[in-house]
Amino acid sequence: MTAVGLPAPRRSSLDVVLRARELGIVLALAVLVAVTTISNPRFLSGQSIRDILLNTAILAVLAVGQAVVVITRNIDLSVGSVLGLSAFTVGTLLQNNNLPVILALLVGAGVGVVCGALNGVLVRYGNVPALVVTLGTLYVVRGVTYFWAGGSQINADELPSGFLNFGNATLIGIPYLVLLAVLVLVVTGVVLRSYRMGRELYAMGSSPQAARLAGIPVARRTIGAFVVSGGLAGLAGVLFAARFGTIDAAAGTGYELNVVAAVVVGGVAVFGGSGSVWGAALGALLLTTIGSALAVLEINQFWQQAIVGALILLAIGADRLVAARVAASLKKRGSHVS
């Protein structure tokens, strides 16, 4: 159920609900920050905020790509492996080689686009469910990276200083990585909200059959969504390399779980058709902040994963309640028509 093609009044009521959904995350975030800061004021220091934002940047870029795929009622589990392959490719390219940052970004995104296109083609033309395809490419891409890298590791002192600067330097106080993530978020968010292409993705997620009958180029859009997700995972690989400087074949292992968690917590329904990239990015921010807050509050770090799991269950449970209420109110309102 989405706003696509529905008459104006329904659209606005749905908008309110969606906005409330994101408001929920913002509130959770505010409470978390307030409680943590009261117990330890250092939590709001410049360095701490900067670390949170930098870590969020990488997760948010991945979450934006994932949201685009999930909105079309698909899933991309290969993003962690694609991030690893891209990071290692870029690291190898720049190893003792002073190339411009923009080239690194393009190469990384290019690696991701190829992986994403492969996923998309297999899903669309191979007629294989996205869960199976991307589970497969999760293995394959990671295995390829291990074949290539073996046990070798690229260290920060082998990377050009310009590239490492990009990972740490700021522009008017804001790190480049964060600016890049915000740019990705805003462009994707606007395209999804206000452009035909974006609305078609929601339509496909709401009802694949109806979308096809309505003349939406489903094949092109499906592959396009996977290309976006892959490309952004590749981009995140470059950010990862610039931020940490040390890259081996295991880079990004298990990230897919955090990314899916961020998207689900951010209110993107796993069955497609609803949610927004803003929510996904907020989900990424919330998950990262929880990690930092646990450290500051001196709570056992081991609790983090359990909390992420509980949050996912809470989020889908809450979404279920909201969806049921919206459906009930739509039914009531539409009863005199049908």
Binding site: N127, P129, G136, G143, G150, F302, L311, I316, R320
Partner: protein, 324 residues
């Protein structure tokens, strides 16, 4: 048209079942002939121990997937069961009470999944990704990153040992017994027919008198129970309880089940194919490892097999369509 479609689909799946068993036999013969030490009785013991957790978890997973749901939390249930086993052993509890408790824990964790999926009606993919993180996180909360060893030698020796002086590993008994139990349930009882009916069309099954919610709930309990058992066996096999035991195993289990010809959309599949899928995956990995291919590079094989298992029948079907 629909009857024809069902007929071709049914034969397609029967074909795939035969094909996967044939491929498995060919791989076993080729590996025995070309890979040194593959055919030895010692290696047979290792192979069985290596596939043990995948083999037993794949059985309830097959039933869950046939109903059209999925359970991605199995490896985390295994890990939590292992961590709790280590924790209780550290508290000087007798192993005779620990093992039943771990099995019970597995069943309870499965029931939690079942509650969210059937009572609250949430999508199983999202629920079990959530409990994947939750159960693994709890395992770390229970045991941290420490390891517990020194389990009683009589138990660890039984798990790694063989029946009498034969080369048949003891744990093969567990695999065979569970395979027969789940095989009979799926293919020879009303429960099994209900599983297929729910997977084909939940609404139609409900009209036919099946209660899909209750059925799925108990399948999740079974999945958790067997995963808890896998945790106990894993701990005893390596004589080491760790919170990260079995991490990532859920993917291998799903790969084995799909490789065995079970449709991810539910309603279709057979247990002999799944067992062939487990054996194929396990023996391929074993043979490649004996040929000094790195563990991580094996991932490529798993991934390609997983995609091929769904893509292969699809493409064959499409080619047939073009010819006609």
């Amino acid at each position: 048209m629909s009857a024809e479609l069902t007929a071709t689909r049914a034969s397609r799946f029967a074909n795939w079942n035969v094909a996967i068993i044939a491929i498995t036999v060919v791989v076993l013969i080729v590996a025995a002939a070309t890979v040194d030490n593959f055919g030895t009785s010692e290696n047979f013991g290792f192979l069985v121990l290596d596939v043990l957790p995948i083999a037993i978890i794949a059985l309830p997973m097959t039933l869950v997937i046939v109903t059209g749901e999925i359970d991605l939390s199995v490896a985390s249930t295994l890990g939590l069961s292992s961590a709790v086993m280590g924790y209780l052993w550290n508290q000087n509890q007798p192993i005779e009470t620990i093992i039943p408790l771990c099995l019970l824990l597995g069943a309870v964790l499965g029931a939690v999944n079942g509650f969210f999926v059937t009572v609250l009606g949430l999508p199983s993919l999202a629920v079990t990704i959530g409990t994947l993180a939750l159960y693994r996180g709890l395992a770390f909360v229970v045991l941290g990153d420490s390891a517990v060893a020194d389990f009683p030698p009589s138990y660890t020796a039984w798990v790694t040992g063989t029946i009498g002086s034969t080369p048949i590993p003891n744990v093969l008994i567990i695999i065979v017994v569970l395979a027969i139990v789940f095989g009979v349930i799926l293919h020879a009882t009303p429960i099994g027919r209900a599983v297929f009916a729910v997977g084909a069309s939940e609404q139609a099954a409900r009209f036919a008198g099946v209660r899909p919610g209750r059925l799925k709930f108990w399948l999740y309990v079974a999945s958790g129970l067997v995963s808890g058992l896998a945790g106990v066996l894993w701990t005893l096999r390596y004589s080491s309880a760790r919170a990260d035991n079995g991490a990532g195993l859920e993917l291998a289990v799903v790969a084995a089940v799909l490789l065995g010809g079970v449709s991810i959309f539910g309603g279709k599949g057979a247990l002999p194919g799944v067992i062939a899928g487990v054996v194929l995956l396990g023996s391929l990995q074993n043979a490649l490892r004996l040929s000094d291919v790195s563990n991580e590079a094996l991932n490529v094989v798993t991934g390609v097999l997983l995609i091929a298992s769904v893509l292969g029948p699809n493409l064959a079907n499409r080619l047939k369509g073009w010819k006609q």
